[in-house]
Every structure is written in structure tokens, then in C-alpha cells.
Point group: C2
Chain length 362, copies 2
């Protein structure tokens, strides 16, 4: 199949902008007359350091990261952050607050529990994670060492529409599946992290934005690679970073700028998701999974209520070039991930195919 | 410059085979009719799992990894292995043996010291790391929990020509800068690890080969991502692996096969390095740094003995398209890394340019 015949709704790794892939392909054997691929460059060479530093600056500009916060290019994905956060920001016996609004926030809380006392200040299990709590529903501890939440929950397709007021308790946030899709007031956060493989770059790069003032207090047992302070001291080059992924991120940030940056992307993602949600609200066959107020623009989840029919639809869609619509294995149903690089046509086409399927099944 | 005008002697990330880059470029926007880039594929999709499983099998075949040993695709580089090894293979109070034959073995020993008692069974500092110890020079402890060494030392350009006899003590080995360059009797090792960015793939992938029988005893404080057992249980997909790097590794393994595999590569690397060493042994200007018996075929180090002249040569070579010949910042001089993908012409051309420089400076 040609790329034009396919829409890829994978939850991550996921679709990248075509102009980014075109540039990457054209530069793959010879980056701008250097005679080398970016994959082959020493991370300490001037040509690569220019790519690295420019990408860092573009990221800072795109998200408006204040100078108080360091930008780190790490490895290990969100799952490694689940350990790094308690190891760097808590001491044994400390109490920390976690809002469990989805699968990955739950795993993060479990991992933190191995190092300190975890209060689950909200647990969405009773609503099957279809609901994002209001400020009033959060049972926050003013003495917590930090408050943790996941701003967009990929599995159930929910997102937080506000940053909780924690009365000064530092906020750590997993933004993996929505980073760079809308403006963020970074100063409100102690730490933001995001795996690259949804809105940014190929898997293997983890972006961390961290308030420098919080670093340097990691536990003695913390592996050196997992110390934020050490990574800050070495500007993410304590060892070789995932150089090629960082290069692709730079290209994605160039593309993002042509799309109007995070402000342009916010408008775009609302419109794109609305195309699907508007249809789902009318459909007699498909039902959206998340509560209306909690819906994510990045991951739209829906189901027929019949497992066999869900599977039939996923296969029906796949035959038409609509790939990876199957929901996460832990919940079933369908999930259409509409990340930054998904064109508007991806939402239009999805609704078209859902309508076609519905017409023959109602 | 064109690729043909350049030789890249970087110590890592470093040169990749041209056919690999050509295939990667041609498949970058559309992998074999899927309509997707490998960068965009869900790591749980069939098309990607096929790439993953085939690459794993090719790696097992290339190195002859016995079924007793698991192959893991991890992140974090050698530096993260420096922590994972003691966290997984030792308990507090245990004693472990480290042979310090270079910079990175030293850093590994320092990191292990944070978790257990480290005996430095050999320390090359007195010879400025120009020497690799013989079996007799190793002060091994039969009760050590494991013995650790780095088989090729990138900074000083030395390599071990034998696997030490430890009388049953498990061996952990950093093979980052020589893996897949010669046959290895993997059964002799408890664990082998290697960062991908020298002989295998772009930076961001760390290969680990580990004896399953040794796993499952990690300490309570070990972050879940850093447990070998957990990574084995999840077949390196506890979270999203560095998918694209794994794909490139698969292409490199295809290329390696056309070169006669690790046996062909061993012959090739001896011949390639000999071209440079033979000249160095005759040169009146350049002196090799490593002892003859300890010389590495992967990293050839040399100097004039005059810092200004070293710098002059590096600049002279760079003007002629010979890139990244400057030695590691900790030792100075020059280093020509001749990894698997370096063609024979890279050694020939280097000697040509050295001769030219020598002719005008002696």
C-alpha cells in the first residue's frame, strides 16, 4: 500500500509528519554535506552538538519552558521515570500523592510504593477510568512530598482539562500522550516527562522538563544514570544519548512551527477529535467510552458493546487501510489515537468507515 | 562532501554499512508496502513483532548464543548496565571482582562500589592502561559473586585476547566496542552487554545477553525497569523498546552475513588494523600507545608525543576528509576507530595521509 492509502491510529509508536520523514530519508546517507548520516555522528562532534543544542532550544521555545527548568533527553521511557521520580524527590518514609486516572498512573503509583508511602488521592477504578476528577474530588495532602498525575490517559482516552491547585506541593506530570498538543504553563510543574513515541520522535527518547531547584537530593541507592542532577550536570550526555531520535525531534519541532506551534495544534486537535466525537454521540452502533467532560482529543475510545462486533469492525477498517484501531488489550473496544501528526483526513476517513459499517449493522 | 570523500573514525556513534543506510532510506516512508515507516509502527503490531523476532534470531545466530542465554534489547547504554549488574547479581556485603583495564571499566567498578565490596583484581593505571593483564596477573577471588571486565577498551585501544579462567565465578563482560567482530564462546559468560552505537545500530539500544539461571535475584530496591528477570518475562517489552534501532540492527546483521559473519569479520579486522599498526611500527613521527600484545583491532591509538603536532595532524587529516581522529579528551593523541563497517580503504587512506604528514614533518 502507499502511504496515502493508510491511516495509522496506533497509540504509540505512532504516525510522524510526512515532511519530517521525507527530510530524514533525504538526509539519511549524507546530512547536509557532512558525508555522514546523523546515525553515525559522534555525540561530541560539533556538527552533532549543533543539532542537539538547536533541538533543545526549539523545544524550549515551542513549549515556553522557563529558564528555571532544565530540559533533559533521557532513555527508558515513562516506566523508568516511575522509579526516577520517587528516587530523586522523596526520602524513605515520605508520603506522596498520586491521582490514579488510568493504567499508567496506577503503575507509577505501584512503583513509587516500593520507595515511599503513596496516598492514592483519587482512584478511577470505580468508573473504569472514564472520569477525570475535579479539583474538589482530589484528596490532597499539603505535606505530600509531591503530587503525581498523568494528564492524558492513553488507554481509556481521558484527559485533564486543568492543572490541579496543590497549594505549593510540587507537581510531577506524565504528558507522554499529549505533550506539544497545547500550551502548558510549565512554571506550575516541578517535573514533566513524556516518552517521545507519540507526539515527538521514534521510541527510545524520553523528554524530561525539571525544575533545577528540586534536583540534587536523590537517594544514595539511586543508579548514577537515574540522577536528574547528574544528567543536568552533563547536559544529558553522562553517556551517549539517543542521538538520532533527538535529530528527528528537531525536525518535528520545525514542522510543528509551520502548524502554528502548540496554539495552532490545540485548535487543530479539538477540531479533529470533534469530527469523531460528534459522530459517536449520534451513532446507534458505536458508544464513546469516556465521560463527555473527560474526553481526550488525542485518544478517542469507543465500542459497540459486543466483543465480536468490535473485532469485526477493526478488521473491516483494516481492510480499508485504517490500521491499529484495536483498543488496548486491557480494556478491548476500539481506540483511535489522533496525535499531532494525524491529518484532519484521518478523522474524516474514520467516520466515513464507521458510518459504512454502521449502515450494514443496524 | 560526498560520502566517498569522507572516512569517519569516530569511537561511537560511528560509521554504519552503506547498504544498511541505503535500505533504511528507501524504506523510511513506507516499509515494504505497509504504508508506514518502521518509526511509526506499534511495537505490539504483527508487522513490527516480525522485525523484532527476526532480529533477535539473527543476533542469536550471528553470535551463536546458546538457548540457556536470553537476548535483551534495552536502553540506557553501558552506564546503566554498570548499575544493573550489581543490583541484579549481588547482595549488600557481597564481594565482586573488577579488572580495571580502562576508563569505562573503572567507572563500572566505581558504580558497583556503591552497592557492594569491589576488589580491583587488576588496575592498569600504572601502565596508563596500555597493558592487558595475563591470567597470572589477575588476583581473582574464588568466592567473588562475579568477575567483571571490559573486553575492548575504546579510550586506550587495548583488547583482551582471551577469556579469563575464573574457576566457576560468573563473568560479566562489556563488549560494547568489539561485539560481533569475532566469534565468542557465549556459554563462558554470565552476562555480556554492548551499547549498539559502535558495531550494531544507532545509539539508544543496549544489547544484553544473560544466563537465565542468574536472573530473578535482584535487590528489592531495583527499579522494575532494571530487573533482568522482568525484562526476560516481558521479552524486552516491559515498555516500548527502541524499535527503530532494533530494525537497523536487523539490517546490520543481514549485512554482517554477507561479510562472512563474525568469522569473516575477525579476519577482516585483523587485516585492516594491521595496515595501520604496521605503518605505526615503522613511523619516525607517530608512536602507537598500546603495548603490542594488548593492541585492539577496533581502536588504534597513536601520538607524536607533541600535543601541538597531534592537533596539527588531526586538522591536516580532517581537511582531507578523515574525520574524528582526535583521541579521547581524557588522554589526547589520536584514535582511529576501525569498527565493523569501516572499509579496508579507511585504513589504507589513513596510512596514506599519515605518511604525507610525516614526510613534511620529519
Amino acid at each position: 500500500m502507499n502511504r496515502e492509502e493508510v491511516f495509522n491510529y496506533a497509540a504509540g509508536p505512532s504516525v510522524l509528519p510526512v515532511p519530517v520523514l521525507e527530510t530524514a530519508a533525504s538526509e539519511l546517507l549524507n546530512y547536509r554535506g557532512t558525508g555522514m548520516s546523523v546515525m553515525e555522528m559522534s555525540h561530541r562532534s560539533k556538527v552533532y552538538l549543533d543539532i542537539f543544542n538547536e533541538t533543545k532550544q526549539k523545544f524550549r521555545d515551542a513549549l515556553g519552558v522557563p529558564e528555571s527548568h532544565e530540559i533533559l533527553f533521557l532513555q527508558g521511557g515513562g516506566s523508568l521515570q516511575f522509579s526516577m521520580i520517587p528516587l530523586n524527590f522523596s526520602a524513605p518514609g515520605d508520603s506522596v500523592d498520586y491521582a490514579v486516572t488510568g493504567r499508567f498512573a496506577g503503575i507509577a503509583a505501584d512503583e513509587a510504593e516500593r520507595y515511599c508511602t503513596v496516598r492514592r488521592v483519587y482512584d478511577g477504578a470505580s468508573t473504569n477510568f472514564a472520569h477525570i476528577p475535579t479539583q474538589e474530588e482530589l484528596d490532597l495532602d499539603p505535606r505530600a512530598k509531591y503530587f503525581y498525575y498523568c494528564s492524558n490517559n492513553t488507554v481509556m482516552g481521558t484527559s485533564w482539562k486543568y492543572v490541579p491547585d496543590t497549594h505549593g506541593v510540587h507537581i510531577c506530570c506524565d504528558m507522554s500522550s499529549e505533550i506539544l498538543s497545547h500550551p502548558v504553563d510549565v512554571a506550575k510543574f516541578g517535573l514533566i516527562f513524556a516518552g517521545a513515541q507519540k507526539n515527538m520522535a521514534p521510541a527510545g527518547l524520553t523528554m524530561v522538563i525539571v525544575d533545577r531547584a528540586l534536583c540534587g537530593y536523590e537517594r544514595d541507592i539511586t543508579p548514577l544514570m537515574l540522577s536528574y542532577q547528574r544528567q543536568i550536570n552533563k547536559d544529558s550526555m553522562y553517556n551517549t544519548p539517543p542521538c538520532y531520535n533527538i535529530y528527528i525531534l528537531g525536525l518535528v519541532l520545525d514542522w510543528l512551527k509551520t502548524m502554528g506551534g502548540v496554539t495552532g495544534m490545540e485548535k487543530f486537535k479539538h477540531e479533529r477529535a470533534a469530527i469523531v466525537y460528534n459522530y459517536l454521540d449520534e451513532s446507534k452502533l458505536f458508544k464513546p467510552c469516556a465521560e463527555v467532560e473527560s474526553r481526550s482529543d488525542m485518544n478517542v475510545t469507543f465500542r459497540t458493546g459486543d466483543k465480536a462486533l468490535d473485532a469485526e469492525f477493526a478488521a473491516f477498517a483494516q481492510e480499508r487501510g485504517l490500521l491499529n484501531l484495536k483498543g488496548h488489550r486491557s480494556v478491548g473496544g476500539m481506540r483511535a489515537s489522533l496525535y499531532n501528526a494525524m491529518p484532519m483526513e484521518g478523522a474524516v476517513k474514520l467516520v466515513e468507515v464507521m458510518k459504512e459499517f454502521e449502515a450494514s449493522h443496524v
